[in-house]
């Protein structure tokens, strides 16, 4: 029991004194500023690059922390992606409606519609083509646009949302790569540690046998 306490104190000491920091387990960043997890070519060399030489516990601890950060960021991006996935159809919906309004006006027809008055009530309305439409911009603001302006505005919004959607998807893929790299690093360090301990034990037995 006391040896466990000692071990813990020793590790805490090492954690405090180590020269290991965020930049030693990451390797630059992508163009959105997401750090890249360092790929460890040789674990022996990597552990020896710190002062004092890093133990497997400290190394795994560092990558595990990094891993959870990436996981959290992954969830964050995933949610963001979902918002765009909902936002895009909404823009498309509005676009199709304005398009319809415009065609009907150009054809000189009046539109009869049943619109949602409140949750369970629909009311009937005849629309005279005033040529303008009010767009809900959010934040309690509604603006009146001509059909042409509305179409231009909505198309612009749609293009921008699509671009951002692609960007978020890319960032998500990049972030996933980083989580996986961190995960693989952890298991490699773990295996490396098992192997080291095994070798040390074999050495001990061999020496004792002499």
């Amino acid at each position: 029991m006391s040896s466990m306490v000692e071990k813990q104190q020793e590790l805490e000491g090492e954690g405090k004194d180590t020269s290991l920091n965020l930049s030693s387990i990451t390797d630059g960043a992508n163009k959105s500023g997401i750090p890249k997890v360092k790929f460890i070519a040789d674990i022996d060399d990597f552990a020896a690059s710190f002062k004092p030489v890093a133990s497997s516990e400290v190394l795994i601890g560092a990558f595990s922390e990094l891993f959870s950060k990436f996981k959290a960021y992954e969830t964050n991006l995933s949610n963001k992606r979902l918002t765009y996935q909902q936002k895009l159809p909404e823009i498309e919906k509005t676009l199709s409606l304005v398009n319809h309004l415009k065609t009907k006006r150009d054809e000189g027809e009046t539109i009869t519609t049943q619109y949602n008055l409140c949750d369970t009530v629909y009311a009937k309305a005849q629309l005279d083509s005033s040529g303008t439409v009010n767009l809900w911009l959010g934040a309690n603001v509604m603006l009146e646009y001509t059909y042409e302006e509305a179409l231009a505005y909505l198309t612009e919004k749609e293009v921008a949302a699509k671009e951002e959607y692609i960007q978020v998807t890319e960032d998500l893929a990049f972030t996933r790569n980083q989580s996986i790299t961190a995960e693989v690093n952890m298991s490699r360090i773990y295996n490396w540690d098992v192997k080291n301990r095994r070798d040390a034990k074999a050495m001990e037995t061999a020496l004792a046998g002499k």
């Binding site: 790929f39 070519a41 919906k93 509005t94 199709s96 409606l97 319809h100 539109i111 009869t112 519609t113 049943q114 619109y115 949602n116 629909y122 893929a173 996933r176 790569n177 996986i180 790299t181 995960e183 693989v184 298991s187 490699r188």
Partner: protein, 132 residues
């Protein structure tokens, strides 16, 4: 990777992981995540497509009277021909998306097969690439 039984000593494969291996593992994991997303998206688009198809069929069998079409948040009275055109336009759009997604899923599955051969070849039973 995270769960699973410990390997016995002779099952272990002592291979160094190269940067290329890491890249392949990353790609595999990334594709896996994307595969699940794409399948989910595809399912929802397919349901939508079925509904639109049903609407088109109904319109074809209709009596020639005006129908109400849901555009945005309001129902709009349309002649049957207009409604059919609107419906078919949407069917085309959704169909296109579904086709694209199916192609993507197929592409991912093929690539994963390649990566599996490569990675199992390198690491044998030390790596697990199957769905839990």
């Amino acid at each position: 990777m995270s769960s699973g039984a410990m390997l016995t000593k002779d099952q272990e494969v002592d291979v160094e992981v190269s940067p290329h291996d890491q890249e392949s593992i990353n790609e595999f994991g990334r594709l896996n995540a994307r595969l699940h997303e794409a399948r989910g998206e595809n399912d929802s688009y397919k349901t939508r497509l079925e509904k639109l198809d049903d609407a088109c069929t109904e319109l074809m069998m209709g009596s020639g009277e005006n129908v109400w079409v849901l555009l945005g948040d309001a129902f709009i009275s349309c002649s049957e021909d207009d409604a059919t055109a609107l419906c078919e336009g949407q069917v085309e759009k959704v169909q296109e998306t579904v086709d694209k997604l199916e192609e993507e899923v197929k592409g991912i599955e093929d690539r994963q097969k390649e990566l599996k051969t490569e990675l199992y070849g390198r690491f044998g039973s030390s790596i697990n690439l199957e769905e839990a």
